[in-house]
Structure formats: structure tokens, C-alpha cells
Amino acid sequence: MRRSGSRIVVAASLVAAATAPAWVWNPYHLHTLIMAGIFAVLALSLNLLLGYTGQLSLGHAAFFGIGAYASGLLTVKLEWSPWIGLVVAIALPALAGWVIGRLALKIRGAYFVLLTISFAGVVSLVSVNWMELTNGPLGLPGVPPLELALPWLGEVSLRTKSAYYYVVVAAVALCYLVCLGLVRSRVGRALVALRENETLAESVGINVTHYLVLATVVSAAMAGLGGGLYAHYTRFVSPEVFLFTYTVTMVIMVVAGGKGTLAGPVLGAVLFTALPEVLRAATSWQWQMLLYGMLLVIVLFFLPQGIVPAVQRRR
């Protein structure tokens, strides 16, 4: 009885999600959903590292930012098509992720966290100081929106919120499926083995470096996609993408939602994008962040595995 109950809930949410632009009247709410979708992509990417290989990356904002800047710069300065911008937004962070993964060798745990923080810090400083490339703190305005040229419809601008919503939903679905495919296979088991007992994993033939690099690359690529989507949605890129608040928000989404699950990060993303909106009416963003900090601690105390696993255990 219970299983079919939860299936109905899941199905209903999917239908609601698919038709949202139809029944969500307030354009601001639609904006919130779009941002939630972008964060869902980011949360899924972080979850791949944190939830499966067990390594925490606090530098994911760097991959996000590199993706945003890559796509932004190419479309603004070189006037390339935004779709190519998106591809580069995926490829460039993936390359950065590869470099980090390859270099990280034996670096694990807290050291890995520091490595990623430092990477993010350096990238952030570069974006602020290298004015010729990135325009520094002034940011990059006028990033073009995505446009789709379909042969029978002509040029369809994806400028409207409704249209962009579907782009984002497609992206979330894509990332979800990628994660699902990886996790339900030998690859996923190898990643988990990394988290559970790396030495044992090596002794049964799992090439630990290879899988860590794989996880980092895919994770970075996804985060980059999120960055690209963000750039073409807000049409403006500035060093603020590297703000630590983004990283923190991602972490909370994954940890509170449920690391190591796939529904967790998505749920976390929706929750923690909607929550600030609810709070925004009442309080300033400092209170939000303060709440976030306390929430993180509280969740870790009472629901160390996150919301989704706690719900699953109830069944």
C-alpha cells in the first residue's frame, strides 16, 4: 500500500513539474523554479563526488563559474552561438576537473576539501583581477539568450521564462539520467568502493585514480552545464558566481536532501531555492545564511543521512 502511495506522489510531482508553466501564474515563481532547476543540476554534480566517492569538494562554485564565464565570454566577445557556448561550458570545467583529479593522487578527505577551496579561491581571484579577460568586478553584461532554429518553426527564441523552464527541466532530467546510469552499474559500485574502503578497492582491481578522476570530470562537467545555463538565463556574469554562498548552498542541498541518493539533491535544490524566497519577504539574506548554517548543523545532528533516506527508512 505504501509503495504505491509514494509512486503516486512521485508521478504527480513529475506531471506537475512537466506542466508547470501552464499553472504557475506568477512569473517570479517560475523564475524560482528555473533557479531551482539550475541548482538541481549543481546539487546532482556535487552529490556525485560527495555522496558516492565520499570526497567533499568545496570548490564546485569554481566549475560553475568557469562554465558561466566560458559560455558568457564566447558568446559576448566572440559572438559564438550560445549552444556552442554551452558545450564549452561543459567541456572546460571537465578539463579542469580532470586536471584536479589527476593531480589529487593520494589527496583525500580534508586535504581534498582544501585543495578544492584553494582552486576556487585562485580562480575567483583571477576573475576579479584579470580585467582584460573577464571585465573584473564589473562583470559581463549582455549575454545572449538561447535560441533554437527549428526547420519548420523558424527561429524560436527561448527567451521566455516558460521556454527556458523546459530547457532547464531537460537539463535536470539529462543529469539525473546520467547519474542514474552510472550509479546502477559497475562504475557506481567502484565509486562507492572508493568511499567505503579505498585500499580494499585497489586490492580487488579497482583503479582508484581512474574512478576518482572520472567522478571529478563528470561532476565538473555538470556543474559547468549549470553555469552555462545560468549565464544564458540571467544574461550577466560577474565574479559573484564564485561567492562562497553558492558553494555552501550546494552543500546544504546535497547534505540535507540526502547524499548518496539521487532524489535527495533534487529535493534539496527545490527546498533550498524555495526557502529563501519564502524567507526573503520576511528577512534579509544574512538571516537566511545564518539559518542555513544552523540548519546544516541541525540536520547533521538529527538526520545525518539527509531527508530522502530518512523518508525511505520509514517505509
Binding site: 565520499g54 567533499l56 568545496l58 593531480l103 589529487a104 593522487l105 593520494k106 589527496i107 578527505g109 580534508a110 586535504y111 576539501v113 582544501l114 585543495l115 577551496i117 584553494s118 582552486f119 579561491g121 585562485v122 581571484l125 576579479v128 583581477n129 562562497f244 555552501v248 552543500v251 547534505v255 534579509s284 544574512q286 538571516w287 545564511m289 545564518l290 542555513y292 548554517g293 544552523m294 540548519l295 546544516l296 548543523v297 547533521l300 545532528f301 545525518p304
Partner: protein
């Protein structure tokens, strides 16, 4: 001079990490706390400057002890990742609490020391910086003496090396943990109190402090007191060089770069001895 304060920060962090296996991402916040406590004592409480600093240290240590009692003790057996995330939560909470309490506008701490630089031959030094350097040095020396000579220090070192045996010998592990954490927090607060007058105060000053502390710890090797002391000085010098050669905007990047480079090449730190594998 900066190097000495970095040493203070680093020593606190390395002790906490080495002894308690806690990655204290909130370390910078105790630094900030120390600075703001000094401000509060001076400006609001009209306390003497030289008295404000010890007060700040006490406040920092107390906050550290509180943090350990309330948050870390219940989590004693939890995985290092959970603790790490909890400390990140503390970091966010503390920083934003400070933002709310003090506002985002930078504050200034006035000092009674003369602003005219003292000159001794070709070297000229601002009295404030000299003061900071001297006090930092004294604190480092003091910390070393406590660790090396006192019964408490011996208990701390014993717990660090072999927790179970120390417990068998009658050392209260819980209390040592609280004291160690408070010690680390107090040192961070001291750094904050000392550097507060030198730079401006703003709530996110702790972020950079945290990072530099980690930089120092990685340079010196985890749990390595002398390494952290030396590491602080190395970082200070490296920053001066970096700021001079590249550009001052990248000054803070030096800390990051050091972390990355050392982690990649010599994860045990520059001053650590070769570890035995297996």
C-alpha cells in the same frame, strides 16, 4: 609580522586537527570574534587597549569551549566528514551572526600606540606592527611552554599520541578536547585581536584567516607545532614576495597556491618527517 600572526593561527588549527581530528573550518570565525571582542571592549566598554586583548583571548577561548561542549562532544564518534560539515555550518552561522550584529561596514580599532615609525638604522617599523610581532612571539613562546612543560601540556601531547593509553592513565579525554579546542580558539582570537588594529574589521575577515591558517598547517605538517610556527613565517614572507612580484591583488592567492602546491608535491608538509607506510 604577519608571519607571526599566521603562526598563531596555524598553531591553533594544527593542534585541533592533530589532536582531535577535527577539521575546524570555523577557525577563522574565532579570529573574527577576537577582533570584534577587542572592538567591543575598547569602543563600547572603554577598556584599556592592553587589557582588551586578553579579554578578547578569553572570549575566544570561552566560545571555543562552548562550541566543543555543545557540538563536538556529542559527535565524538562520528565520521570526520560529518564533523567537517558541522564546522562549516558553524562557520556560516557565526559569520552571518556577526554580519547581523555588527553590520557589514568595516570598523576601525583605535590604538594608543604612536603612529610615527621607529627607526633603527636603515629599518623603520611602525610601533603597532612591532607590538603585534612581539606579542605574537610571546604568545607562541607561551603556548610552547604550556605544551612542553606543564602537566596539562603533557596530557595534551599524550592524548595526541595515543588516546587510549592516555585515557587509561586517567586523563579525561573530554576535558582535554575541550581545553584543546578552547586553546586553539583562543590563539585564533588573539591573532584577531592583534591584527584588528592593523587592518579594518569586517565580518568576512575570517575567511582569509581560515585559509591562511590551513595553508600554514599544511606547510608545517598536521599536528606539528614547530612546523606551524615556522610555516606561519614562511607564509608571511611568501606573501610579501608574491605581492611584490606579481601584484597586490594576488597577495591572498599566495596562500591558496601554497596549499595547492604543497598538497600536490608533499602532502605531509614541508617539515614533516618521512612517514612509514603500511
Amino acid at each position: 609580522m604577519l608571519g607571526a600572526t599566521y603562526s598563531l593561527l596555524g598553531i591553533g588549527l594544527t593542534l585541533v586537527f592533530g589532536l582531535m581530528n577535527v577539521v575546524n573550518f570555523a577557525h577563522g570565525e574565532f579570529y573574527t570574534l577576537g577582533a570584534y571582542a577587542t572592538f567591543a571592549a575598547l569602543v563600547l566598554g572603554s577598556v584599556n587597549f592592553f587589557l582588551a586583548i586578553p579579554i578578547a583571548i578569553v572570549v575566544g577561548a570561552a566560545a571555543g569551549a562552548l562550541c566543543d561542549r555543545v557540538l563536538l562532544r556529542p559527535l565524538r564518534g562520528a565520521s570526520i566528514d560529518t564533523v567537517m560539515l558541522v564546522m562549516i555550518g558553524v562557520w556560516i552561522a557565526m559569520q552571518n551572526a556577526e554580519l547581523l550584529g555588527w553590520g557589514g561596514v568595516a570598523k576601525n580599532i583605535p590604538t594608543p600606540l604612536p603612529t610615527q615609525p621607529l627607526t633603527a638604522g636603515p629599518v623603520s617599523v611602525a610601533p603597532l606592527r612591532l607590538f603585534v610581532f612581539v606579542v605574537s612571539g610571546l604568545l607562541i613562546l607561551g603556548a610552547h611552554l604550556v605544551l612542553a612543560k606543564t602537566k596539562l601540556g603533557r596530557a595534551m601531547r599524550a592524548t595526541f599520541q595515543d588516546r587510549e593509553t592516555a585515557a587509561l592513565m586517567g586523563v579525561s579525554i573530554d576535558r582535554i578536547h575541550t581545553i584543546t579546542f578552547a586553546f586553539g580558539a583562543g590563539l585564533a582570537a588573539a591573532a584577531g585581536a592583534l591584527l584588528g588594529p592593523v587592518f579594518l574589521l569586517y565580518p568576512s575577515m575570517g575567511d582569509l584567516a581560515s585559509l591562511k591558517a590551513f595553508s600554514v598547517v599544511i606547510l608545517g605538517g598536521l599536528g606539528n607545532f614547530a612546523g606551524a610556527a615556522l610555516g606561519g613565517l614562511v607564509l608571511g614572507i611568501a606573501e610579501e614576495l608574491g605581492a611584490g612580484y606579481i601584484s597586490s591583488g594576488y597577495r591572498d592567492a599566495v596562500g591558496f597556491i601554497i596549499i595547492v602546491v604543497v598538497l600536490l608535491l608533499r602532502p605531509a608538509g614541508l617539515f614533516a618527517r618521512a612517514e612509514r607506510v603500511g
